[in-house]
């Protein structure tokens, strides 16, 4: 087990290194790198000044070395648009995104697990069909469109919730729900199929034969055994949420990391884009690792070599 964890962490580092390298060289191929950092209509001597200041006049391998050693020391570069180190701009935005993702995760699990469980119990009945239709819709409708439709309904027609921006709890409801729809669909489907497997097993029949109340059978015994694959997917979905946040935050003008990424692309602030991509990859790799290890821990039948 310890070996497995160490190996996974090692591979995590390799992947991270690969991401850093790819992102760095992406910004150095094909185009003049300075053009990624300055406005299109910048004057020639300004361009040269920026080139000097960013060290872009040096050979690529020197730049790469400087960049790597900067990252190791926690220096990710300076944002051209915001004028301060990228992480100082990004962290408050990350908190705003986390706020959204956190609530969204609760909504997803709160809806998807009961719906999935009852879809399995009432397989083929109206409830299941409805759940299936909902899941199919959730996976076929673009997040931003659902968000806009929710704005039209709740903010424009009924005036019950704000259309966007950051404020009190009411501002969170629509974006968190919108963000959750895709994950909800996926987790409902998985909970359903996983529960179907478990409900069919001998120990559930045994419990029922023993006269254990149906509710206890479902929620205490069956769900516990069906939870493993759901847990894995939920872990991955949490990161998926952070990425869905890019679109959702744009719809609701939520000042999060995703919005920042889009703003940075428009402002031609490559240092910022680079940092956000690195941070996203880091989160993704870390969550993957934690989920895998947790999985092995929860299910002793899984043996890693």
């Amino acid at each position: 087990m310890a070996n497995y964890i160490i190996r996974r962490i090692f591979f995590g580092f390799i992947s991270m290194f690969a991401v850093v390298t790819v992102v760095f060289f992406l910004g150095r191929t094909g185009v003049d790198p300075v053009s990624l950092f300055v406005p299109i209509d910048a004057r020639a001597d300004d361009v040269e000044y920026v080139r000097k200041r960013l060290g872009l006049d040096k050979p690529v391998y020197v730049q790469y070395g400087v960049y790597l050693s900067g990252i190791v020391q926690g220096d990710f570069g300076k944002s051209m648009r915001w004028g301060s180190p990228v992480q100082e701009v990004a962290f408050p935005r990350l908190l705003a995104t986390l706020q959204l993702v956190w609530l969204s995760g609760i909504i997803i699990l709160g809806v998807a697990i009961p719906v999935g469980v009852y879809s399995a119990v009432y397989r083929g009945k109206a409830f299941d069909t409805f759940g299936k239709a909902f899941a199919l819709f959730g996976q076929s409708a673009p997040t931003f469109w659902i968000g806009l439709m929710l704005i039209i309904l709740f903010a424009v027609v009924w005036h019950v919730l704000p259309a966007g921006g950051r404020g009190d709890f009411r501002n969170l409801i629509l974006p968190a729900f919108t963000l959750g729809i895709f994950g909800m669909a996926a987790i409902t489907r998985l909970t359903r199929s996983s529960m179907l497997n478990v409900l069919d097993s001998d120990f559930v029949k045994m419990l029922r034969a023993k006269g254990v109340p149906e509710r206890t059978v479902l929620w205490r015994h069956a769900l516990k055994n069906a939870a493993l694959p759901v847990l894995t997917l939920a872990g991955l979905q949490m990161v998926g949420l952070m990425l869905g946040a890019v679109v959702t935050e744009t719809v609701f003008s939520w000042p999060g990391l995703g919005r920042l990424a889009v703003e940075a692309v428009f402002a031609r602030d490559y240092a910022m884009v680079q940092f956000i991509v690195l941070m996203g990859s880091f989160l993704f790799i870390t969550v993957n690792l934690v989920v895998d290890v947790l999985y092995a821990y929860l299910d002793p039948r899984i043996r890693y070599t």
Binding site: F137, P142, I152, L243, V247, V262, V265
Partner: protein, 303 residues
């Protein structure tokens, strides 16, 4: 009473609330051939290809005398503009038709692009094995682990926004799934006798891969690509919605939606209709994909 018989065999005695096999069967038989999704996709393709014939107006032509016209059934709307007009007075119906064309181009370039890269690498990886296999699969690992929208964000500043960049981004982000699944298929196919016979007969590696193994995995390719259509469309729409996709005067559905975002309180139809188009097309593609999968390759159920 057929249902009593079917449901009562084993489970009803244990727990009456348990699902009954007959029901599920009836539901799936209802869905056997997805005529409606097929119809929608055919209509979509016809409209996308011959769009300019149906299109009542030039989709890019502003007409400032008729801005914000609602769809015809609403008060103030007229049958001149079936689905209303946008903030510049452009006919929504004509713009949506142009959007269909953009979506079709994205599918027609993106999916074959995925197949070209993914299947080639999958074939090589599965057939060659050893070091080549490990190398390719590690790259696939990184690709599958790397969130596509991040890659898109990293690529956009380099490529610049526009249709060409969108196509490139879609191709480079989507092939890894094919490589993974095709490799697994090839592994099982290559141990079969006919491959060994081909080898004995002196066929070259390339010939074995292309003439003997590739035909065996065509079904799988077909299944994955139909299931991918929906996600490709949504991906393009998302990028265009963020403003880093197609640029005017081209109008993709995501872009029209993004335009309509500013007018949700006054002109809901601008954002509503492109979304409906996306939902209908993706839903149809997904239903069709499910059906193709069940017909051709039920083992891919978990996709």
């Amino acid at each position: 009473m057929k249902n009593l018989f079917a449901g009562g065999r084993t489970q009803a005695a244990v727990a009456p609330s348990l699902p009954v096999a007959r029901r599920r069967f009836r539901f799936s038989s209802l869905m056997q051939v997805p005529y409606i999704p097929m119809f929608i996709i055919v209509v979509f393709m016809i409209v996308a290809v011959f769009g300019s014939v149906f299109s009542p107006y030039d989709p890019g032509l502003p007409n400032l005398r008729s801005t914000y016209r609602p769809p015809f059934w609403q008060e103030g709307g007229s049958t001149n503009f079936l689905l209303g007009t946008d903030n510049l007075g452009r006919d929504m119906f004509s713009r949506l038709i142009l959007g269909a064309r953009v979506s079709l181009i994205v599918i027609a370039v993106g999916i074959p692009g995925h197949i070209a890269i993914g299947v080639t690498l999958g074939l090589i990886s599965g057939y060659m094995g050893r070091g080549v296999d490990t190398l390719i699969q590690r790259v696939v690992d990184v690709y599958l682990a790397f969130p596509t929208i991040l890659l898109a964000l990293a690529l956009i500043p380099v490529l610049g926004p526009g249709m060409k960049s969108i196509l490139i981004i879609i191709i480079v982000t989507g092939w890894a799934g094919y490589a993974r699944i095709i490799r697994a298929e090839v592994l099982s196919v290559k141990s079969r006798d006919f491959v060994a016979l081909a080898k004995v007969a002196g066929a070259s590696e390339l010939r074995i891969m292309l003439n003997h193994i590739l035909p065996q995995v065509v079904n799988t390719i077909l299944v994955i690509s139909t299931l991918q259509v929906g996600s490709v469309i949504i991906f393009e729409a998302s990028l265009s919605f963020l403003g880093i996709g197609t640029q005017p005067p081209l109008s993709s559905w995501g872009q029209i939606l993004s335009d309509g975002r500013q007018f949700v309180s006054t002109a809901w139809w601008i954002a509503f209709f492109p979304g409906i188009c996306i939902v209908l097309l993706c839903l149809s593609a997904n239903l069709l994909g499910d059906w193709v999968r069940d017909k051709l390759d039920p083992r891919l159920r978990q996709l």
